[in-house]
């Protein structure tokens, strides 16, 4: 069922749709780009987190644009309005980001990244330091803590279940579809991952991040994607690179643990910060710092970015 029905208008205080949208080709794959602010203003690039999409910045981005910036956000492959790819990987996401950078300007650009988007931008900052002038990482800083250890026997059983579950999902991926529902039902489902965000906000996100088919609303995100996953990557590898960054950097941490959060503690991260790097920790705040404390974070980010001219 892919037939669309007329969009339902949902509003949220302060939410502003992008002023411009465009598509960038990343080696042939269509990446949807959303922009707020004066097209001639200096760009600031904004990267969303995993299972999010660019329009989760519909309240935050206009505040940055009001500070004199051209805010350029994009949907990662398989997310939002970007094309659903055959394959997805961390390196491919970084490459897609570079395609958006290249489409925006050749010089160094200021960057804001949330969660996975923040971590992707840390990798981009190390691989292409000439392309990033300033870096804001919102609750996407690596944690030096290793995963809780488990006995080998338990590890084997745990891994068996994870692996077979993941392989089973790949076997059925060709026919996978997101589960349809009412706008409120999708908002309630998302609340399991975003328990601190209001129903009104999540309802708004459905209206811009889902499509309305004849049998109900479905999230646009690639149905072959699934939470979790596994691979050889270690947090320590990202952490060891952090101290080598030379551009001004600020990290924002929400201290209330959440399912989507990374659990990074300021004290354990501080020794790995690059010279001049700064951490700001928010008590009573979860993983979505820029949504829970939008105005406060926007003010801090604008101060950090400095004058756009």
């Amino acid at each position: 069922m892919t037939e669309l029905v007329e969009e339902e208008r949902v509003t949220f205080p302060g939410a502003v749709p992008p002023h411009r949208t465009r598509t960038v080709s990343s080696d042939g794959l269509g990446i949807a780009v959303h922009e707020w602010g004066d097209e001639g203003a200096p760009p600031v690039m904004v990267a969303h987190g995993g299972f999010d999409f660019a329009r989760t910045f519909d309240v935050f981005a206009p505040l940055i644009a009001a500070g004199g910036w051209r805010v350029v956000a994009w949907d990662h492959r398989g997310h939002g309005d970007s094309e659903h790819a055959h394959l997805s990987s961390w390196d491919a996401d970084v490459r897609d980001a570079m395609a958006v950078f290249d489409s925006t300007g050749p010089g160094p650009l200021a960057v804001i990244g949330h969660s996975k988007g923040g971590a992707l931008m840390l990798q981009l900052a190390e691989s292409c330091p000439h392309r990033i002038s300033r870096l804001v990482n919102i609750d996407g800083m690596p944690s030096p803590r290793p995963h809780p250890d488990v006995a080998d026997h338990q590890r084997t059983r745990l891994m068996a279940s994870e692996l077979s579950g993941w392989l089973d999902s790949r076997r059925t991926a060709a026919s996978a579809q997101r589960k349809p529902g009412t706008l409120d039902e999708l908002a309630q489902r998302r609340a399991r991952m975003n328990p601190r965000l209001s129903h009104e906000w999540l309802r708004y996100l459905v209206s811009v991040g889902a499509r309305h088919d004849v049998d109900g609303w479905r999230w646009k995100i690639d149905p072959t994607m699934r939470m979790g996953g596994f691979g050889p990557w270690r947090n320590s590898w990202s952490l060891e690179r952090l101290s080598g960054l030379a551009m001004p950097m600020i990290g924002l941490l929400g201290l209330i643990p959440e399912q989507m959060g990374w659990g990074t503690e300021p004290d354990e991260l501080a020794p790995y910060l690059p010279p001049g790097g700064r951490l700001v920790a928010y008590e009573d705040t979860g993983h979505f710092v820029h949504i829970e404390r939008t105005a406060e974070v926007a003010e801090l980010v604008l101060d950090f970015l400095g004058s756009p001219r």
Binding site: R95, R155, R170, A173, G231, R234
Partner: protein, 222 residues
């Protein structure tokens, strides 16, 4: 070799080739060959496999041979493991022999489907080492956009950079040795020993053997 069977893995179409049919109806389970990085399924039965009594299949990984070349890359060995799982879904329980990259994927899928992989044979070949035990300095790779023929240059670039930590590989090896119904379910025939394979060889239940010995052992079944 006849026209390949088309398998589906998510949005990709994979080519599964029948290299040789079973020598007789009672020949037992099949053998699945996984090629090395940049290679494709061989057109004829390679040297050394003549003694295998069952059917012999070969899978072209995504971006290789007659399988789909995806837009914009994004290769990981874990996704190729799911390619191999699509082949197992079609041929049923099988012994797997992998070359280079295919050897590493054989280890992964043997850990992921210990009930379906009746012995994993790890052989030398292109892409055996991957990117080494830890990642090198990150970079953003670029490929020739005009290149439209297999192998996909993204596969060649990405699957020579992927880190393969020894303890990650041994987790899969332990998965296989603990859960497989086959005695000594991993046979290492490779002479090359990148760190991940050196660690796997040291695991109990992993044997070092010739290809002929491994084929004979696994053809005998569980």
């Amino acid at each position: 070799m006849t026209s390949p069977v088309r398998l589906t893995h998510a949005r990709a179409s994979l080519a599964l080739h029948t290299i040789r049919s079973a020598t007789d109806a009672r020949a037992g389970h099949p053998l699945l060959l996984l090629h090395g990085l940049g290679e494709r399924t061989p057109a004829t039965l390679p040297l050394g496999y003549e003694t295998w009594p069952g059917a012999v299949y070969g899978l072209d990984f995504m971006g290789h041979g007659d399988s789909t070349i995806p837009l914009g890359g994004g290769y990981t060995c874990e996704l190729l493991m799911a390619d191999a799982d699509a082949a197992l879904a079609h041929v049923g329980p099988a012994t797997i022999a992998g070359r280079g990259l295919g050897a590493y994927v054989a280890l992964l899928i043997a850990g992921g489907r210990p009930d379906l992989v009746l012995g994993a044979i790890l052989l030398d070949g292109p892409g055996l080492a991957g990117g080494g035990p830890v990642p090198g300095s990150p970079s953003v790779i670029a490929v020739n956009p005009a290149h439209g023929a297999p192998p996909d240059p993204f596969a060649l670039a990405e699957l020579t950079r992927d880190p393969r930590p020894p303890d990650y590989a041994t987790n899969f090896a332990r998965q296989v040795t603990h859960l497989s119904p086959v005695a000594d379910p991993i046979a290492v025939c490779a002479v090359g020993r990148p760190p991940w394979l050196e660690a796997v060889v040291a695991e109990p239940g992993v044997v070092v053997s010739s290809l002929a010995e491994a084929l004979e052992t696994y053809a005998a079944g569980v």
